[in-house]
Symmetry: D2
Subunit: 485 residues, 4 copies
């Protein structure tokens, strides 16, 4: 298979990296759909910009309808039908889900977000929901046709998304057989989801993260009226295939997930699913950027030869291709580990902490790589790279969102530092990497990590990034070798 | 002066870096205008997106009018009046021009483009124009009021902007007392300029760069009708304060600059002016991104303190601030050198070749730095960074254009390589840097450059980027020290 | 003066219709400003579409800032400075106000709306405000510089604007020294006004219009925070120079105007001011449409002559010109009468009821005329008439809003019917018209009106429009003759 | 069937007016498709505004691709497959075509335009094309699947669309076995059509309409390159489902239709097809506006009852409903007559001239009625009527285009006058109407027409509109009675 053909097919790349791939026919059909229909729908959705929100129907009833073109639904439902959510629960494995996400994200990383938050909702419900909640809400979330419900995971408020302990001010008051939530969510992806998982603070709970609980909030009240309101949709620079809004909860009917005093664990578990999805999507996006750049460089000539045949560009491309494989290995390691530990509950195993470390490394590094690859692909396109009518600039807009949501690099580095410090997760990781190939570089890095952890707090934070980056890259390189075996 | 105050003022930064600054009152007034009026106008122009082109007036006459809001003219004319073009010729120095450009680009790097191409037009005309052309066109280009003419420099055609020898297909046919040009220009900045400098190929000229000549093309024919047509405006992701169009030349009246067989030198001299301007603008944009990030980080809190007081962010910021100073030093060195050699004609001096090398290093590195700083500033803003309604995302859009127009990094690296190889320009540069501070790092780099130049062509190109980047950074660091003295 | 010159100048038209015009130099300066600056600003504002609403500043504080281009403020403040509001109170006459409104509406009927609602706010306050409210709020509303406050008049809720008795659900609860309002306003023009006049229902008040009261609601609370919120701006097809939003009142501090049980009278008085303004604006807009059509028809040729010289078009134009004069006479009669009775309070005089009838006739007929003239002007422009890049289509978009807000034709007809039925206002009107010219047509119409009023209710309503239209037209024709004398 | 149900179904309305309807199952399926899929697609296309034109593919090849969302093609192809074009030629009857057009225009009058111009192309080709042209181009135009070619009819140039004799400046030069056309078309609907019918002036032909010829111009040259260029798409206020552009012909390969000296007849015959289509679309649009207004008026309450139950609104609605029936009768009469005379060639029969008169009356009056109905429906919607997020305002935008393209009211009146004067077409029409019902009104109108025709030219034109309008209305009323029989 020619390199360009491989790069242009997310499935071919997956096949080149993974020894076995479950549900190949499903993935083939999915990719075929994207090539024939999805690509052009996705382009049109991106070009159309932020859709309109029609708050009231003509009779004056509040309805909060988002005016996407109808083909948006076609595109969106495609992945649900293929099993991006229902397979995870039915087959008790996250692998089919993240394989589908890789494939979809190659074509549209934004539409991966609804899938991710629906997954987070379904998994939270399956793991922590009460019997009644499960009976009522799980079946519609797992439907295999277009009537499937969507989920959403709304944590962030105006105060910011990192320090939830301080910024979540949504209050939950117990009601007869449920809870009533009041507050505003500021970045609420998949704003029309039928069921959302929402962080709130039960009345009287202590301040900080210890006082957080997680709730299910359906779109409609039992009486059929809206149970929450979209204040507006946000004009994001990318991922226009997921509607992100500000949500108003006003005595919204809600159902507790798990225990009211341990919501923070549930929140972090939801975030784990998202970060892994973000890593997978970032690598897929980087593959897309490289594929487009290569296609362009193969058809454009300058100074008498195709620009891909100029040594500088060729070299840059080859280095990036190698990095793509490493980035994929790192992301997929986070998938594999999550698949192992995803059903754990606190207190977590040592393996879980390794997963956390790898997930932070992957979220951080794959997003960086996606951004730099999208930037590079724009430059390869020259002047065309900055024109809205061509696609090159889109991937940078998409990549920048992947680098920011689910926690910026700062968050990943600091949280990664913490799990190394408190849980010594790096030791297990280094042991594992050494099993792949024992190198001098690895030993040196291990010393550097140890040295870093011994610094006093401020210095430790200040110096963390360089070490963290090297750890991500080296882990990716080593893991990449493992996948090749 | 508090750091934030300094960063928020391009003039304060200039004052902190340069021992003397000519025309301080002019610059102060310029900055004051931007702070009170310009900032909000520039925001509005960017938000408005690509303006409409009204090709015909209601009576059916072709007019090619661009429908900018009226305040666009206010913003645009401000810089001309302050002297961004006329001072260069009247005072025989480029320093006031580039100082003004730094200042303007801090607020709007796009509007710097009309100034740059007007400068290129005026300088070409002054240097190479015939007596009649000068008499007719120089005075309006140098007016000090709002009636000033604008210039433009149009080289690129659909085949691309790098390999002009192959891609310029516009034909020039001699007419009675002038020339007639026919062809299409694909990226034509400042599309309504009263006078453009245009690359074309005289009928019968040899292929390749040797067959190129440079012409003046006024907007209107002698009979008052349009002398060239705007086919359309391009939807760029940034720099919306300069209208970039596709231009149709159809027997357009034109006047030769210099000799018909040496146009390539004139073209490259025009490009020199632009690349230096691009470097200056890139550094200013990076300053802006850092200023905005710092302002945000000082007012936002997480985990009980301002986010700027978190050690990781603080460290990243400080490293960037140091790089800003280096990048400025590199850019300003290219200004200083251009100011010395700008009136040379072929054959050029050794000093001219050093200028060329520094200009390539500066164009390359300052744009990279602008992009990475804008990306970083977006991340500091978290979720707000990806929303159209705030400014953070704008700087990345602007920076990506700076990285691409006037030649992408590939162009700079390869041309830089050539001037080192053919003219040994690096030797003079190293000598100069050693004069500032003789370091081991410098010596090591000098060997690496030499080793690179000895490689066989393909390897040389492939390996060039890493060496070129280090050369840019180290040069900047050294020069930064020099400016501090 | 050539006809086209007269039509292109709202002031020239006013001078041709009115024997004396106060403050001519002020009006001349105003018109001059519009010709040189305002026209192009207004075009740019219309082209830009609905502006963005930035709800939060970067630090997360709710600010509800509307992102108009800065020149919008220049345009907006121009009229306030000229005295569109302050003169009404200082000079104790509405004539200067409505003259200015005519002039402004010729160029931009949308910007007339902020002036109208600011006038409504100032007049209500001056007439019904408590001593403290007047001392605090009147001076800023009457400032003569750019720091002037704006007013707003918010009545309509989601249930509709006609039947306020049923649809106003905003509740007012008494607080220590003021009131607290909670509810949602659905069409809230001039959404950022510093002071709004708001219809609400005091707790415990009876249902229907008898339970309505009118309140002053400042933009900011005494503690400096926002006192009301803009939920969003509405994407209107026209009048983009006034921001119309949905407003949320949440325990918003408010001050009662007049008595709590007679709000409906105050509301109707505010509406009177608006309807008269709407009539004046409609005529001005019709003049503009005719002026543009004539200008086009004078420069375009078909079949060997200017299209204005084709008899069909010429005839249509002349008929419209005559109607313009009649429509103006009707509108100005409503101004003149309002100027007489505007300070009355209930119980109102017979003269007041004549004013009401004339105001309904004028609001109805001038808007119809504006719409049909704008439609006609589009058709005169042929294909250019439907292109966004030319202005012809704008006037129809503007006119359609004038026909709808302040009550559609249905409202005017039915309310006009009521004031004829209950107050016999038509008798006085007919007497007055007879004083101008006693015609058979007039007598016949008088009989028809009487016959209409004698029908049983359903038939009366059903048949009302034809009679009402004839009454409007005939009144206009007669009054036009009077103005010519 | 409830009135609202009937009004909401174009097919139900057709069934209520016409005794027999061919291909009912086809029409039912078409309507069903529109109700389930088409409505929402059409809304999305309208909301998206003018699509982008991508002139060049990334490799720099000129391609002139219009970036519609993919579902646009779904919507567009639906009608072709149902037979809006192929049935006309295969079944030798225009009735199925215009029935389909009525149905489609109820949902989207814009998409009716591609069908109309494709019909015009196919009919011209079938009637006047050479053997080779027919063999080559007819089959693809008549395909029954999605690969069907589209046609287009391009006459208008920058000088205007009425006086083609003066404004068509496109030159045709004979080539070896075809012609080469050079010129610019200013309003070119269906800009990407595979085959266009184009008016041009053979070199050396006399001035005026006598020098016009009609040509076929394929999209691609024989060598596969573009045969004509889209300079840009026009931002129309409506009918966004047909891309209207400016077209550049540059030595474009072309094939003559009919004789080179009788193009004007062919042009007028094409126009006949369009005007009849425009009439049918206008009535369908009026029905849509009434249906939407009724639906709203049935669900909205004011003053204690549904607003449709208020006598004034109810009365207006009923009058409009009656007019809808008359307007339909007039439009359908033009269809019926065209179906009879459509294959005639000059010299034409008397029946043909009656058709022309009826077609002018219908184009004029149905468009007037569509505009006034759309305006009325907006007013019924009150404030919602002026908001972009609801549909009411769309119908006015669409209607205004129907009133302007294919000739404004002026054109219809003057051309109608001519056919009465020169061909006495009104006499046959009056005779026919008298056959339906002999009324005093009719006799009076006949005298008025005769009186009008006897006036001297200028007076005749000036007075024509009132008589023409009465003739249109009365004809519609009478014909409506006939259809009811």
């Amino acid at each position: 298979m020619a390199l360009l053909d491989m790069l242009r097919s997310p499935l071919a790349f997956l096949e080149s990296r993974l020894p076995t791939i479950p549900h190949l026919p499903v993935l083939r059909a999915e990719q075929e759909w994207w090539k024939t229909d999805g690509v052009r729908i996705s382009d049109a959705i991106d070009r159309a910009g932020t859709p309109w929100l029609r708050m009231f129907d003509p009779s004056g009833r509040r309805t909060d309808e988002i005016l996407y073109p109808p083909e948006y639904q076609t595109m969106l439902r495609q992945g649900y039908r293929s099993g991006v959510v229902w397979r995870a629960l039915e087959e008790n494995s996250l692998l089919p889900t993240y394989l589908l996400m890789y494939l979809v994200s190659f074509y549209d990383p934004g539409v991966c977000c609804p899938y991710t938050v629906s997954l987070g909702t379904a998994v939270s419900l399956a793991k922590y929901g009460g019997v009644e909640s499960q009976a009522r809400f799980l079946p519609p979330l797992l439907r295999k046709d277009n009537s499937v419900w969507q989920g959403a995971t709304w944590m962030t408020e105006i105060g910011g998304g990192s320090d939830l302990g301080a910024s979540v001010r949504t209050i939950a008051r117990p009601s007869s057989d449920s809870w009533l939530l009041t507050g505003d969510k500021y970045f609420a992806s998949n704003a029309t989801a039928e069921l959302a998982v929402v962080a709130a603070r039960p009345e009287g709970a202590p301040p900080g993260v210890r006082g957080l609980a997680l709730f299910l909030v359906p779109r409609y009240r039992d009486d059929g009226s809206l149970n929450r309101f979209i204040r507006r949709l946000k004009d994001k620079i990318g991922t226009r295939s997921v509607p992100t809004g500000e949500i108003e909860l006003r005595d919204s009917e809600a159902y507790l997930l798990g225990r009211a005093d341990s919501g923070i664990y549930l929140i972090l578990e939801v975030l784990n699913l998202s970060r892994v999805a973000n890593s997978v999507a970032s690598v897929a996006l980087a593959q897309r950027a490289l594929a487009d750049a290569l296609a362009y460089a193969e058809c454009r000539t300058a100074f008498g030869k195709r620009i891909i045949d100029h040594a500088l560009l060729r070299h840059q491309f080859e280095v990036r291709l190698e990095s793509l494989r490493s980035a994929f290995a790192l992301a997929w390691e986070s998938v594999r580990l999550l698949d192992e530990v995803g059903m754990e509950r606190p207190p977590y195993s040592e393996r879980y902490h390794v997963f956390r470390l790898v997930a932070h490394l992957a979220k951080y590094w794959t997003a960086e790589f996606a951004v730099s690859s999208a930037k590079w692909a724009m430059e390869v396109h020259g002047g065309l790279g900055v024109l809205g009518e061509y696609e090159a600039e889109r991937w940078l807009r998409e990549a920048m969102i992947l680098a920011i949501w689910e926690g910026t690099s700062h968050r990943q580095i600091l949280d990664g530092l913490e799990v190394m410090e408190r849980k010594q997760a790096h030791k297990t990781l280094f042991a594992q990497l050494a099993g792949i190939a024992r190198t001098e570089e690895l030993q040196e890095l291990e010393s550097d990590v140890q040295r870093l952890l011994n610094l006093r707090p401020d210095h430790k934070e200040a110096e963390a990034e360089a070490v963290f980056r090297r750890l991500a890259i080296l882990s990716g390189d080593h893991l990449s070798r493992k996948y090749l075996q």
